[in-house]
């Protein structure tokens, strides 16, 4: 059912327009469950779309799923759009998603950096950053995962505008980041924030800007291990689990550190499938297996959030 719904092939990489059309189609197919909302415009004025999955009214406890903040990580956007279709097709048919959505809302942003995504498809396949420009600076773009107000410009981010990890001129300077921050803060009832990246098969939680453990370390670690186990159960894909700092490197200004420091306890970030053999070029035939296994891990996390609302 997910493989080819209407004209959309979930086992292929797509242009931004095609992804946006499919988000619209999902909302049209399930008007009582899904809606497409514009939460802002990118630097190059592209709409920033979020799919809201909800069966109730008001600001219910919510989960934020974020994909594609680094534009070249195409498997993350592809996984995001598959997840969107999976959520609507599972509601009413699968007990855990049904019970989550009976009480909570899910917001899913499959393309968090649309300018970068278009640039990676038209100019440079390995573009990672946004496409913002600062007068007087020759290099383009900011790393949107160093731009959040969580120990901004600290360790593991670069002051050099030409670097792949440039933190930007100030926290939330990137409209793509600020739009999400404003949306989440205005909503005020998010319980979980999950960011999806690729590659190298990791499931991490705060912190990135320090190697100090977060106060909820034991619980986050336990949930992440269970999620990684569920993920591995499908195709044997092995993940490493731990805080960003000790699992890969110190990185300040990251999305999940911001989420955690702003009271969103269940903050996780994935690095999807591939041990490095394909880099950011994971063959399209691996999109569906990657999405399927990732979904199992996401479900473990979302169920835990649902059972431990605070």
């Amino acid at each position: 059912k997910e493989r080819n719904n209407g004209n959309f092939n979930y086992g292929a990489y797509h242009s931004l327009e095609e992804l946006y059309q499919e988000m619209d189609r999902i909302a049209s197919d399930y008007p009582n469950l899904a809606s497409r909302q514009e939460i802002g415009r990118s630097f190059e004025k592209r709409p920033l779309y979020v799919l809201k999955f909800s069966t109730g009214k008001g600001k219910r406890p919510a989960i934020w799923l974020n994909a594609g903040i680094h534009s070249r990580e195409w498997i993350s956007q592809a996984t995001g759009i598959w997840i969107a279709r999976k959520i609507v097709s599972d509601y009413g048919n699968e007990s855990s998603i049904t019970s989550i959505l009976d009480e909570m809302d899910i917001f899913l942003m499959p393309v968090a950096n649309p300018d970068g995504y278009v640039y990676s498809q038209t100019k440079n396949r390995f573009w990672r950053k946004t496409r913002s420009r600062v007068p007087g600076i020759q290099c383009v773009g900011v790393d949107p995962n160093r731009n959040w107000n969580a120990s901004f410009s600290g360790e593991g981010a670069s002051n050099d505008p030409c670097s792949e990890a440039y933190h930007g001129p100030k926290p939330h300077s990137e409209i793509e980041v600020k739009s999400v921050v404003d949306f989440i803060q205005n909503h005020g009832n998010f319980k979980s924030f999950i960011d999806i990246h690729s590659y190298s098969q990791l499931l991490m939680y705060p912190y990135g800007y320090t190697c100090k453990h977060p106060r909820d370390f034991a619980e986050l670690d336990q949930v992440a291990h269970r999620a990684a186990k569920a993920l591995a159960s499908l195709y044997g894909t092995s993940y490493r689990v731990g805080p960003i700092c000790s699992t890969i490197y110190m990185a300040s200004g990251s999305s999940i550190d911001w989420a955690y420091e702003n009271g969103i306890k269940y903050a996780f970030t994935f690095e999807l499938r591939d041990t490095g053999h394909y880099g950011f070029l994971l063959p399209a035939q691996q999109i569906l297996p990657t999405a399927e296994e990732t979904w199992l891990a996401l479900k473990v996390i979302m169920k835990h959030v649902h059972h431990h609302l605070y």
């Binding site: 292929a12 095609e18 038209t122 396949r125 390995f126 490095g276």
Partner: protein, 93 residues
């Protein structure tokens, strides 16, 4: 559109801190025009780096002279990109 003809991706294994330092020297060699997809962080994590065709010989000799173990994970980056583009065109519509 930027082309990557003849570029290769190396996966480099690092055994200890000393090798890590050597690899960081490579990171800072701007004239090699390397693009690190995975940076050197801890000895447990391999490093993935795109090496342009013009730097292949120099990088190989640097790695070999310092005993750094590496393998070529992508032989021709542009060939893989061409395949990806072909597949996307095929799947469109």
């Amino acid at each position: 559109k930027e082309k990557f003809n003849g570029h290769q991706v190396f996966q480099i294994k690092v055994r200890d801190g000393e090798q890590m330092n050597k690899l960081n020297e490579l990171v800072n060699m701007e004239n090699f025009k390397l693009n690190f997809w995975k940076l050197p962080t801890t000895p447990k994590r391999s490093v993935d780096v795109v090496v342009p065709s013009s730097s292949l010989k120099l990088v190989k000799s640097f790695l070999e002279s310092h005993g750094l173990e590496y393998s070529i994970s992508i032989e021709d980056l542009q060939a893989l990109l061409d395949e990806e583009i072909k597949e996307m065109k095929h799947n469109r519509g």
